[in-house]
């Protein structure tokens, strides 16, 4: 006989403000098998949990229903609570009276209370059919995969490795470093970005516990926490890095020149290249799409008519160690990991979407990242700020904020967070490059939340004379070698026109290309902008709802460098905590198959997405299905597929779900 205790939480006024708690309690007392009913101001608080533990013992309760917030919020908390009182943690059911009731039916106490009573009734019916469940122990591989070699991924890899665990860092570009490597200085300290980043990059390459895989991508992920199986695509570099010394002869002599992605098209790179001088590893790859010899090979293979491309081979002829390897092909390796940190970062919003600003059409309209490259001593102009159109030195520079941020029209309603600060930084840096430069900054609001950020933004105005104009820019057009910026100063309520030499668009952050596909591969969720969703925005900011997959950096949303570094370390701490165990406990909410009922049709074997069902032969010679519990993820697809009703799902049994329906 079940002895059910029902505990209703007020959640301050969150539930009690809308739902009549006394009425719900009175109704609960009359429900079958309920022997104890209590309420609590905050059930999740320590006194609240203690009162549940005490009530379980005092009233010999063997089932518990808690009417509170969503089970997605506190199911784990309350499972521990009932376990502390000696009850099996799976003999607990939560009625979602907050997210699904009081918060969405505020102002209608009658309807909300009626619904709350039914939600409790359903939970009582379900828990009365609950069974005690026992987790099993499974092994784990103490080896972590970090995806993305920006500053967040670098920090995560270093911290996990320093904790003593093996790490594989996968980066799809030929070098790690990410966007931070492109920056000239960082706000608000004006530290040289490369000076603080490159030592970390070198640490990654030299750390005995870190395997660095550049020019590689995660292709497929199977398995579960502690036991992931990951397919990694190693793109053909056409250079044998074990022989290459990084001397640089090849990329200095390669005749094929094309726009450098790293310099955002402002500089050039060769077909065999390292993206930037401080690249890690400092060894080149061959861009097979643009390499002259590869084009020659393709031409010969297809037996085309016309002019034969030259059979270049200069890099091979000049390489002192014979490292060029034309035979190298794309390869796929499969590796085992216990945890995955995703730090795939961001890319800059493409400003060409704003036709009225002329990005892409007018060479002197550039993005914030392009200005970083122009100011950078190792950039395409060796740190000389010039107009891309004619190489002259600009005197009037206009900044346009919120390009691809806070703009519903362009489908980007969020604030990219860093742009206000980098515009202030740029205004300061420009003045230091050339005291004659006058900066104008069109802004909506100045968002400078962060340690020393507001002071920094003030300095740009007071000490460096940047003129801030509150308003949007409506149009930019060229006239007599200048760019006429038409905007509005909404503080004086007048239109403004500035003849600028250079216009900088403060482009916002969007998720890096392929983020949605990556989410699908890892089985994690994206928000409507394709940023990854954390398990809880406040309390579990670097975890996902897929156990063993962690997040760090601007793949979650716009982040500045200190936040990326903090999140890299946070994710690493989570991985280290996971790896500090020798075994993991598996979720016992897995499928079961009643061999006596099974007719051996094996439809479940086909339906199971995880290959967790196998066919077995019983002692009396019948073929039946059997669940491999360590592999089962508990989706229950087999249950709805099973014709004779032999399959069931622990925690969501047919009996439990039917009981919920039957009390309606």
């Amino acid at each position: 006989m079940a002895r059910i205790g029902v505990f209703i939480c007020h959640c301050g006024t969150n539930i009690a403000g809308t739902v009549d708690i006394a009425e719900v309690m009175a109704a609960a007392e009359k429900m079958p098998q309920v022997v104890f009913v209590d309420d609590n101001k905050y059930t999740c608080s320590e006194p609240g949990q203690a009162s549940i533990r005490d009530a379980i013992i005092a009233n010999r309760l063997n089932r518990v229903v808690i009417g509170s917030c969503s089970p997605r919020m506190h199911e784990m908390t309350f499972r521990r609570t009932v376990a502390a009182a000696g009850l099996n943690p799976y003999l607990l059911e939560i009625a979602n009276l907050r997210e699904h009731c009081s918060w969405v039916h505020s102002g209608d106490t009658v309807a909300a209370t009626a619904k709350a009573i039914e939600l409790v009734r359903m939970a009582v019916a379900k828990v009365s059919r609950a069974e005690a469940l026992f987790p099993k122990e499974i092994g784990l591989t103490k080896r972590a995969l970090v995806v993305g070699g920006g500053v967040a991924g670098i920090q995560a890899a270093l911290d996990i490795a320093d904790a003593g665990y093996e790490v594989v860092l996968v980066e799809r570009e030929p070098s790690i470093g990410g966007h931070m490597a492109q920056l000239d200085k960082t706000f608000p300290t004006l530290d040289c970005s490369a000076c603080i980043l490159t030592p970390k990059m070198v640490d990654v390459a030299q750390h005995p516990k870190i395997t660095l895989l550049t020019y590689a991508e995660v292709q497929k992920v199977n398995g579960f926490v502690g036991n992931f199986e990951v397919e990694i695509l190693h793109k053909a570099k056409k250079v044998d890095h074990s022989k290459c010394t990084g001397c640089g002869t090849c990329w200095q002599k390669c005749p094929e020149k094309l726009p450098s992605e790293f310099d955002h098209g402002l500089g050039q790179r060769t077909a065999i290249y390292i993206p930037f001088a401080q690249a890690v590893p400092p060894k080149p790859v061959i861009d097979t799409e643009h390499c002259r010899y590869m084009k020659y090979l393709e031409f010969m293979e297809q037996g085309k008519e016309g002019k034969k491309p030259p059979q270049c081979l200069i890099c091979e002829k000049l390489c002192p160690t014979g490292a060029i390897d034309w035979e190298q092909q794309d390869q796929v390796s499969t590796e085992q990991f216990g945890a995955i940190v995703v730090a795939t970062g961001y890319q800059a919003f493409d400003a060409a979407v704003y036709g009225e600003y002329g990005a892409g059409r007018y060479p002197d309209v550039i993005s914030g990242l392009q200005l970083e490259r122009l100011m950078n001593a190792s950039g395409p102009t060796s740190g000389e700020v010039i107009r891309p159109s004619d190489g002259s030195h600009p005197q009037t520079v206009v900044f346009v904020s919120c390009v691809g941020s806070r703009d519903d029209q362009k489908g980007r309603s969020y604030c990219s967070k860093v742009c206000c600060m980098y515009m202030a930084k740029h205004a300061i840096m420009l003045k230091e490059h050339d005291p004659e430069i006058q900066s104008y900054i069109f802004y909506i609001d100045i968002r400078a939340g962060g340690k020393d950020y507001e002071e920094f933004a003030q300095r740009a105005q007071e000490e460096y004379g940047a003129l801030y104009l509150r308003g949007r820019v409506s149009k930019i057009y060229p006239q007599n070698g200048k760019l006429i910026v038409c905007g509005e100063d909404s503080l004086i309520g007048r239109p403004v026109e500035i003849a600028a030499d250079l216009v900088v668009l403060a482009t916002g952050m969007i998720p890096s290309a392929g983020a949605a596909e990556m989410a699908r591969r890892l089985n994690i969720s994206c928000d409507s902008n394709n940023f990854f969703i954390e398990a809880h925005p406040k309390l579990r900011p670097v975890e996902t709802l897929t156990d063993g997959v962690f997040l760090a950096g601007s793949c979650i949303g716009p982040r500045d460098i200190p936040e990326c570094v903090a999140q890299g370390s946070a994710a690493a701490a989570k991985v280290a905590a996971l790896f500090s165990h020798d075994t993991l406990t598996s979720d016992p909410m897995t499928a079961t198959i009643d061999a006596m009922r099974c007719i051996g049709c094996l439809l479940c074997v086909e339906a199971c997405p995880f290959n967790a069902i196998d066919s077995l032969v019983t002692s009396d010679g019948r073929t039946v299905a059997g669940v491999i519990e360590s592999v089962c993820e508990g989706c229950g697809l087999c249950v709805s597929t099973c014709r004779p009703g032999a399959a069931n799902l622990r925690g969501f049994t047919q009996q439990q779900l039917l009981a919920e329906v039957m009390v309606l």
């Binding site: 997210e99 089985n523 969720s525 997405p609 995880f610 799902l649 969501f652 309606l664």
Partner: protein, 136 residues
């Protein structure tokens, strides 16, 4: 429309998308009619047609299944089964004399709190127009 008639909806929501979307509607305080009773399931693919039939048998005026968008199932392909299974189920419901408007399979992601609330509102409204179920 019958004055004061309140249809009853049973919602089978998958833990990762539909249920999370409904939670988000809650945390964002987006109100919707109190006509829905939610049953949490791990995956929309867990929902046995029997559960839908039993819901109607016990007097539900409408049944909603909300899962992850196709291609985004937490269990890789569970919602594909849902989609196909209930496409076949719809004509069967009509055969039983239950209007097909009374049963909906929808995709609601964890970030679509607004969509969930709109969905419940429109479904409630539609069921109210349809009126109580005919006696079998």
């Amino acid at each position: 429309m019958i004055e004061g008639y309140q249809p009853k909806i049973i919602g089978f929501l998958c833990n990762w998308c539909g249920y999370a979307g409904a939670d988000l509607a809650g945390t964002s305080r987006i109100t919707y009619p109190a006509n829905i009773r939610v049953i949490r399931v791990p995956c929309s693919g867990r929902v046995d047609p029997l559960l839908v039939l039993k819901s109607f048998q016990r007097g539900a005026d409408g049944v909603l299944i909300a899962g992850c968008h196709p291609g985004e199932c937490h269990y890789v392909e569970g919602n594909y089964y849902t989609r196909r299974r209930f496409a076949l189920f719809h004509p069967f419901l009509e055969y039983l004399g239950i209007e097909k408007e009374r049963f909906r399979v929808e995709w609601v992601s964890a970030s679509e709190g607004k969509k969930f609330s709109k969905l419940v509102s429109s479904f409630t409204e539609e069921l109210a127009k349809l009126g109580p179920r005919r006696e079998a």
